[in-house]
């Protein structure tokens, strides 16, 4: 972000406020561009992964090789669909809900460091900022569920509220373990720490439990795999977005994949060494100017590995019931998260001591 500001003030000689706003504009614009392209690719990837697991081809005929143009075609079609607002619906809430859901998840990307300098703002409370912002999405979902005046979407919204709120507890506690090791909340420090000391996941055995707990809690956070109760396909017809059609529905579809991206980015940055290679192989953090963008590529490869595991889980496991999701959250994940944090603390005190 600083390089952008220097570029605008230095070479173009603009005033500081104009340069700052232009820098933020370009940064957020490129972030939005990356996210939409990523989302389209992720939807296509999900359909191909699902297809090959089920021994079929998935999208083939649309576009050229292996149906690469499938997601743009879906987006184009959804744009020209009729935008239905149900008669009994609460118009304002119905109209604004997808926007809130999408912004809630998009705001989390401010603190994610994609490469050495490539980060919009290195917020001090980085990790907890992301978790807090990502929970705004629940408000949007409840709005969507309540305002579309259909019983199924109301059930979906209420389930969503119960599930996501109760899964923030174990996910936040599980993230305490890496924070203990690094000693700061800023995501930039995580990368520098992991550049010198190697990946946090290998720092002590309890970290594996923290990673597993966080991974499961993040699945519930973005309504995926065994926890896709809010839009349970077979029970609640289509959950909270039953009444949405056309472009509004595509926002909900996009939001699911963007929250997967956000959650995988956090997992990679905190546990799997951000944009650094395993034994700081190429010392990516402080390479020369144009090459430090290699970090972005490293981070994206790791993100897609984590996303592949999420997709792989979705097409294997059945769905849990609402009360089972709650018992798992409070009885199984939370105690193990605390155990992992306590274990890490004891381990480090004993190692340094």
């Amino acid at each position: 972000m600083e390089t952008l500001i220097d570029f605008f003030t230095g070479t173009l000689g603009l005033g500081p406020t104009l340069a700052l706003s232009l820098a933020y504009a370009t940064a957020i614009g490129s972030l939005l561009g990356f996210i939409t392209v990523y989302a389209m690719f992720a939807i296509w990837m999900e359909r191909k992964v699902a297809a090959h697991i089920q021994q079929r081809f998935g999208p083939m005929e649309v576009g050229g090789w292996h149906g690469w143009a499938q997601s743009p075609a879906d987006a184009l079609k959804l744009m020209f669909k009729e935008d239905i607002i149900p008669s009994g619906a609460n118009k304002v809430l119905f109209w604004i809900a997808p926007a809130i859901v999408f912004c809630g998840v998009l705001a989390g990307f401010i603190a994610i460091p994609f490469a050495a300098g490539v980060q919009i703002v290195d917020i001090d409370l980085g990790v907890f900022f992301i978790i807090a912002i990502a929970s705004i999405e629940v408000i949007g979902v409840i709005m969507a569920g309540w305002s579309s005046n259909s019983k199924y979407s109301l059930f979906g919204a209420v389930r969503e509220a119960a599930q996501v709120v109760s899964y923030e507890l174990p996910s936040a506690t599980a993230l305490l373990a890496p924070i203990l090791v690094v000693g700061s909340f800023k995501l930039g420090d995580f990368n520098t720490y992991q550049a010198e000391h190697g990946w946090i996941i290998f720092s002590n055995p309890f970290m594996w439990i923290a990673l597993l707990v966080y991974f499961i809690a993040s699945l519930a956070g973005c309504k995926r795999a065994p926890f896709d109760l809010p839009e349970a396909e077979s029970e609640l017809v289509s959950g909270f977005h039953t009444e949405y059609s056309g472009m509004r529905f595509s926002f909900f579809g996009l939001e699911e994949f963007v929250s997967m991206l956000l959650v995988s980015a956090i997992t990679c940055t905190l546990f799997l060494g951000g944009y650094t290679l395993p034994f700081n192989f190429l010392d990516v953090a402080n390479l020369a100017a144009p090459f430090h963008l290699l970090g972005v590529a490293v981070l994206i490869v790791k993100i897609f590995a984590v996303i592949f595991v999420q997709m792989w889980l979705r097409w294997t496991l059945p769905r849990m019931r609402v009360d089972q999701v709650m018992t798992m959250g409070y009885k199984y994940l939370l105690p193990w998260a605390l155990f992992a944090v306590a274990g890490t603390a004891v381990w480090h005190v004993w190692m340094e001591g």
């Binding site: 019983k151 769905r319 019931r321």
Partner: protein, 389 residues
């Protein structure tokens, strides 16, 4: 401690709550067709439920009274469209009982093999759609992969993929081609490997067991009271199978197979998991039957000579009535035919197993959640073509 009581709300008299009427409507991903269940809900818990059927009523019994005996066979296909070979078998046996005719030896063995193949295909669909009801989409695709090979096998002699019209009164439409039996045996060997795969994928999955154990428990007296038969009855521990206890086809006496019964392995006896597990084990029993059937397949004619003329002039059995029960994948299908000498019966009643199994639903649903309701409907494995006829 009493300070704590002050805060707990014991009597909910002043708390105003309202019953929510929910329509598990005719178009719903997991009602296995067009069944509508009116649920009144208290939050996620169902307090009362009432089934509303008739969305697929296709006047089967009125057609029975206007169409000749042979021409009614395709309509029996369309009653339980997942096990149409077994329906044809039940109808043909009823007409043969009415006429006092016996199908030739080879036809009876081929009927048994085709009926068992169709039973496996029907149980595969029950397994696949039950996976989707509980949320796992992949078992559905593996189940349909096996089902396609069964349909290809049954397509060769009968000529159709799903509604066969192959078993007709007096025998079979035509004989099977020569390497049909070897292909059937090849399918049986391949199926055993796949079956083990299904179990690791779904049956022993902890989440699946959590979703189906101890849910929708049917005690044995309710089974008798509501007239539930087939896997629903065997799931509750009653060891009864028409193929073994009242053999309606001679080959069933010469073939040895055992009748899988629910044992309450995960949770109490008679829950959804037991019914599901009975169906899975019945698939392996059918494989055993098919292997023994293929080994002992006699040669000879396939269609009774005196019945060959029924294609040209319709059958006219003399006055009388006949009631025949056969073991369908979903339970005991009974045809009650009253004939008075014409070319078509004056009354042709089908006692559909899904119709009786579904009458259990109203007593099972209250007290469960929607996710369990979906699991219970899936475990009863109803087919609406048969419920509404």
């Amino acid at each position: 401690m009493e300070a704590l009581e002050m805060y707990t709300v014991d009597d909910r008299s002043d708390v105003y709550t309202e019953e929510l009427k929910l329509n598990l409507g005719p178009q719903h991903p997991s009602t296995h067709g067009v069944l509508r269940v009116e649920l009144s809900m208290d939050g996620e818990i169902i307090t009362a439920s009432r089934c509303d059927i008739g969305y697929l009523h296709r006047c089967a019994e009125k057609i029975g009274e206007n169409v000749t005996y042979l021409q009614y066979t395709p309509y029996t296909d369309r009653m339980d469209y997942l096990a149409s070979m077994n329906n044809n078998l039940a109808w043909s046996l009823t007409v043969e009982k009415l006429l006092g005719v016996e199908a030739p030896e080879r036809a009876q063995w081929l009927r048994m093999i085709c009926a068992e193949l169709n039973r496996i295909a029907s149980h595969l669909i029950a397994f696949g759609t039950y996976g989707i009801d509980i949320g796992a989409n992949t078992p559905f695709f593996y189940a349909f992969r096996e089902r396609e090979s069964i349909m290809a096998l049954l397509e060769r002699p009968s000529g159709a993929r799903m509604l066969y019209n192959y078993i007709q009164p007096g025998g079979l439409r035509r004989d099977v081609d020569e390497n049909w039996v070897t292909d059937v045996l090849a399918f049986c060997d391949d199926f055993e490997k796949r079956w083990a795969e299904y179990n690791t994928l779904l049956s022993n999955n902890r989440i699946f067991i959590g979703r189906t154990a101890n849910i929708g428990v049917i005690p044995q007296d309710v089974v008798y009271a509501c007239g539930a038969t087939g896997p629903v009855m065997r799931g509750s521990g009653i060891k009864w199978d028409l193929r073994r206890d009242v053999p309606y086809l001679k080959p069933y006496e010469e073939v040895d197979f055992d009748v899988p019964v629910g044992e309450g392995t995960h949770g109490t006896l008679g829950d959804c998991w037991d019914r599901y597990w009975v169906r899975m084990r019945e698939m392996m029993e059918s494989i055993r039957i098919i292997r023994q059937g293929c080994a002992a397949l006699p040669g000879g004619e396939v269609m009774e000579k005196v019945m060959k003329k029924m294609y040209k002039t319709p059958l006219t059995p003399e006055a009388g009535e006949a009631y025949m029960r056969c073991e369908n994948p979903r339970g005991e299908l009974g045809f009650y035919v009253v004939a008075e000498g014409g070319t078509s019966p004056i009354r042709c009643r089908a006692r559909a197993p899904s119709f009786c199994n579904l009458s259990l639903l109203d007593s099972l649903l209250p007290g469960t959640m929607i996710a369990d309701a979906v699991a219970i409907i899936g475990s009863l494995d109803i087919v609406l073509g048969e419920v509404d006829r």
